[in-house]
Symmetry: C2
Subunit: 108 residues, 2 copies
């Protein structure tokens, strides 16, 4: 791969300040990031199952997001295969849960 070396996902694309909230908003603002977290909320999925859950999103970008989310510590590759949320990732995911109710109200 050797695209993103060792830091986070990149020299923080969306913010020069490096404030954690900006880094987080940028990371989650990339395509499929939020969706991936959302789809993993009920438990681990294999890479292909995740792809199916994400409307057959291209494996290229899915792999990229997965790597980023893994480096961020939100997602991990289970020993028996399959991607799942880390405890930290679950915590983050629960932060989004109110979004579900909000979205339902919002559709009108």
């Amino acid at each position: 791969m050797a695209k993103q070396a060792d830091t986070k996902t990149s020299p923080v694309r969306g913010s020069r300040t490096g404030r954690p909230i900006m880094v987080l908003l940028d990371l989650l603002g990339r395509r499929w990031s939020l969706r991936i977290m959302w789809e993993l909320r009920d438990g681990p999925l294999t890479s292909r199952a995740l792809r199916t859950a994400c409307d057959e999103a291209s494996p290229t970008v899915l792999q990229a997001r997965l790597t980023e989310l893994r480096e961020a510590g939100f997602v991990e590759l289970g020993d028996g295969g399959g991607y799942g949320l880390t405890p930290l990732g679950q915590e983050l995911c629960e932060t989004f849960m109110p979004l579900h109710r909000f979205a339902e109200r919002w559709r009108r």
Copy 2:
């Protein structure tokens, strides 16, 4: 512009199902969407002030996001100029507030 006609932002790029949560995750998963909501949390900003707050992001995409967020009902253009959150937008923004605390803990 005439790119997105009258529906939401597009025929729901990130999801074919049209489930509100997917539409929302997709909308917020576009670049600068989350950031814009975040920067408007303390009150309205002029388009240029918002641009400054968003690390000089290009006005092209900022306008695009602003239009989408306006069509979604989260942002409005105040009578005296300046973009601000609608009551609905404030509600959504408050949903993100826990993210701030989370991000601070996460940076380590």
